[in-house]
Amino acid sequence: MEQTVSITVNGVKRTHPVEPRMLLVHYLRDVLGLTGTNVGCDTSQCGSCTVILDGMAVKSCTVLAAQADGSSVMTIEGLAQDGKLHPLQQGFWEKHGLQCGFCTPGMIMAAVDLLQRNPHPTEAEIRHGIEGNICRCTGYQNIVLAIQAAAEMMG
């Protein structure tokens, strides 16, 4: 039943046997112990589980671990480099872009993708860019400000 997958996660190649039906998010959380990626729903609506798969933001509850075989994945745990926070992490901290923190990893990873595609988004573009991620705490306002601040830091 099981098949072996090799996935480069946060720069390190990992190889494990998995059930074909195992979701990528469960592989990250339960096999690799990377619990920073949260599961907020079961219909790919909330975006809490967003990670970067081969350079693009995906909802990791919608991808099978087997489909990610041979791919490269970045999770929230891989964002800070050499102990230095990523500008988006700094932006979320400085602008109070989180309260309970549960949607935050997915929200930040969605923003990573957004700023890659559009380094200087307008307010409207940011709001549109995070439509696939739900936050129940903040009303999104400070998340928008956090992404703007990160865009400025990244120049």
Binding site: C41, C46, T75, F92, Q99, G101, I134, C135, C137, G139
Partner: protein, 782 residues
């Protein structure tokens, strides 16, 4: 002079969350852990004829399957109701039901397996033979003759009734009224949707007979008490309940849920750690829902706009069982707020708490107060329209004047402080209200549907004097505990009985304590949410943490300061009354001799070495306080909203949102502003999109995020906030609640704005949510 309080300090808790290091219950993995999944009813109402678990039990990877009867035989108790108004009928609720299922999602069996995947596989193999029964879902229709009985021992499906006010004065007001406004409305059912689904992990130690339960709770101490005394039977001193990082609650994680009983019961039964994590679909059909009122209301006025009477009758849907605090919400948190910001004598409110084949309804952000505000502020707006007055003017005319505080309403509350004229003046200046009205008139000439909502609201936050709560039906007190433990090195661990799940206690409480003791915030660590570390406490809801929990901590810190002063006085050979405690630096010295000072750290060490303490003083530097509030606090707001309705589609766009709030003294403006904005978004969600819908068979039609419309980022403009501070006179911090005002006010502010936009078409009222379809239909009917 404060150095931290009043400053927008960045949050202490953020570094772990922004790096994916949050410690949510679902992240806890223990060696040899088994996984639980729960078989739930697909019917709204059905008799259970037979449950066959054989095939499920035989599936490889399955450890055991248990039914509700197995749990009862194994000693579990019924879930109690924690708020018992007179003559209430509390229906029986077992952790897993045994006779009938009474709502979609009602649990009937539990599977425990080696992996979550095999536990879910096994669910499909459990065969339940149901006899479907007619269902009832409407709060009022459930009381009609011939409606199916949800519980055989609750006749007419009415669990309780409650009333408050001055009925005679109300009747007189309506008899003498020059104008009467009537409004029948539905305050629709909402589904809370904290982003973290509920979860529980339990670990039984057979050696010590101790149980540890990690649960997504806003109040682990009361949960431990309920587990010990009612549902699980493990004594409190052998039961540790931990709520680590919790991903939002909004009320829905206050209550004692069946899984908090099932998971530890299974752990003890199989002698292994056990984990359960809800799917979002399970959250929809098992987390307590909010609101769901059917209401008839009327307001009596004089021709000049003076309000003389308010009469409200509400049928409050309680769902299939009474959730832990369900009867509190439509009684002491709802009917008691019918005075709003206004001086009205003739208020009478009455309600019926009814049972239906739906998920239990309990507190959801605002909890009773948004419903009350909605009734009052809708009536005031309709009155203004009928009498040809500006909605701002009619409100000004009826405000409780500033000099009449503390003000006794006819519906129990004594409002502590407020200045509603100043509040409205500030908001109207900020929004440039007269310019908004001018522009609206121009837009209307062009045929555009622009509307303005201006509303005021009040909240009873920071529950509550325990004596008052007891008299109103509470089974518990509503004080809070706080401990300040100064270590020999001068570092501080502060324990609070309140709990944070987004509210930022680790930051704001550290600000308060650091200022009180004159030390660095970095030297203060806040501990909460673990019955093994903190004393009994009541947790977090009702915007109580700062007002009640913060007050306990500040009082404990004051006691630390007093003891430190005594030690310093002794060592400096001075009289205690001659000592100065410099709260800027934490230095203690004799008045006039700041050069010869003892530092906070020196005094702390001295307290523990105990080589040179005053005669009779006990060693150590740790103080606790139990704070029982003298009153609720009464934050109040004025929100002004401008919307435009699309003439072709009926879609609402929010163009401007101004929120001015009086939340008393503010500890951290950035955090408070975050609470206001987030609260507004939730309030707007009810006004425009959110609705938990059942069909007539009790089938939940909005069972996932695909059917239930949550607020998303594109729907909002930047919300403009400001404060109008009138400190609460009765707590040491002068604070009022900040967490719920946005939600309480946002809903009706937007609803009134939309109705104002539609006024030229003669549309008087549409029940929420104000979806494009409903608006379009109303436009074309008018």
């Amino acid at each position: 002079m404060a150095k931290y309080v009043g400053a927008s300090i960045k949050r202490v808790e953020d570094p772990r969350f922004i790096q994916g290091k949050g410690n949510y219950v679902a992240n806890i993995n223990l060696p040899n852990m088994a996984h639980v999944a729960i078989k739930r009813s697909p019917y709204g109402h059905a008799r259970i004829k037979k449950i066959n678990t054989k095939k499920a039990t035989a599936l490889p990877g399955v450890i055991a399957v248990f039914t509700g009867q197995d749990l009862i035989d194994g000693g579990v108790g019924k879930l109690p109701c924690g708020w018992n108004v007179p003559d209430i009928k509390v229906p029986t609720r077992w952790p897993l039901t045994v006779d009938k299922v009474r709502h979609v999602g009602d649990g009937v069996a539990v599977v425990v397996a080696e992996t979550p995947y095999s536990a879910y596989d096994a669910l499909d193999l459990i065969e339940v033979d149901y006899e479907p029964l007619p269902a009832v879902i409407d709060a009022r229709k459930t009381t009609e003759k011939g409606a199916p009985l949800v519980h055989d021992d609750v006749p007419d499906n009415v669990s309780y009734t409650w009333a408050i006010g001055d009925k005679e004065a109300m009747e007189k007001a309506f008899a003498e009224a020059e104008h009467v406004v009537t409004l029948d409305l539905v305050n629709q059912r909402l589904i809370p949707n904290a982003m973290e689904p509920r979860a529980a992990v339990a670990q039984w130690s057979a050696a010590t007979e101790e149980m540890t339960l990690w649960t997504t709770s806003q109040n682990p101490q009361p949960i431990r008490l309920l587990l010990s005394a009612f549902t699980l039977g493990i004594p409190e001193n052998k039961l540790r309940v931990i709520s680590p990082d919790v991903g939002g609650g909004f009320g829905s994680k206050i209550f004692h849920y069946p899984e908090e009983i099932i998971v530890p019961w299974v752990s003890r039964k199989i002698n292994r750690p056990v984990k359960w994590v809800a799917t979002r679909t399970e959250s929809y059909m098992t987390d307590s829902h909010g609101r769901d009122h059917v209401t008839k209301s009327r307001m009596a006025l004089k021709k000049d706009g003076t309000i003389t009477g308010i009469h409200v009758q509400t049928w409050a849907n309680q769902g299939a069982y009474l959730s832990t605090f369900a009867p509190l919400i439509p009684t002491a948190l709802y009917l008691t707020l019918l005075s709003g910001l206004y001086k009205v004598k003739g208020i009478w409110g009455e309600m019926w708490g009814t049972l239906t084949n739906t998920v239990p309804v309990d507190a959801y952000r605002g909890a009773g107060r948004p419903e009350a505000t909605y009734v009052v502020e809708r009536l005031v707006d309709l009155a203004a329209r009928d009498l040809g007055m500006d909605p701002a003017d009619i409100r000004h005319k009826n405000f409780i004047p500033k000099e009449e505080f503390p003000y006794q309403t006819p519906v129990a509350f004594m409002y502590d402080s407020g200045d509603y004229d100043a509040l409205f003046h500030k908001a109207m200046t900020m929004a440039d209200y007269s310019a908004l009205r001018r522009k609206q008139a121009e837009a209307r000439k062009q045929g555009r549907l622009v509307g303005i909502g201006i509303v005021g609201s009040i909240e009873s936050s920071g529950p509550a004097p325990s004596k008052v709560a007891g008299a109103l039906g509470s089974a518990v007190g509503f004080w809070e505990s706080g401990v300040i433990r100064v270590h020999p090195s001068g570092k501080v661990t502060a324990l609070t009985g309140s709990h944070a799940h987004g509210q930022s206690h680790e930051t704001t409480f550290a600000q308060v304590i650091a200022d009180e003791l004159g030390i660095s915030m970095d030297d203060v660590e806040i501990v909460h949410g673990d019955t093994g570390r903190v004393p009994f406490g009541m947790g977090t809801y009702g915007s109580r943490s700062a007002a009640v929990g913060g007050s306990a901590l500040v009082n404990a810190a004051k006691r630390v300061r007093q003891k430190a002063m005594k030690i310093a006085a002794h060592q400096l050979e001075a009289a205690e009354e001659d000592m100065v405690y410099d709260q800027e630096s934490g230095k203690i010295y004799v008045h006039g001799s700041p050069g010869k000072a003892k530092s906070f750290g020196e005094v702390a060490l001295a307290a523990y070495t105990a080589h040179n303490l005053p005669e009779g003083m006990e060693p150590g530097l740790e103080e606790s306080a139990w704070y029982d509030p003298a009153n609720f606090t009464f934050p109040n707001t004025c929100h002004i909203v401008q919307v435009e309705v699309d003439r072709d589609t009926g879609e609402v766009t929010i163009q401007r949102y101004v929120a001015v709030d009086d939340m008393g003294k503010v500890i951290n403006p950035m955090i408070v502003e975050g609470q206001v904005v987030g609260g507004v978004a939730q309030g707007v969600g009810q006004a425009l999109w959110e609705h938990g819908i059942y069909d007539e068979n009790g089938q939940l039609l909005t069972g996932t995020l695909m059917e239930y419309a949550m607020p998303r980022a594109e729907a909002f403009p930047m919300i403009e906030t400001a404060r109008n501070e009138t400190p609460s006179p009765h707590n040491p911090l002068g604070v009022k609640g900040a967490g719920e005002m946005g939600t309480i006010t946002g809903t009706v502010a937007v609803a009134n704005a939309v109705m104002d936009a539609l006024a030229p078409l003669g549309v008087r009222h549409i029940d929420m949510p104000l979806t494009p379809e409903k608006i379009w239909r109303a436009m074309h009917k008018s």
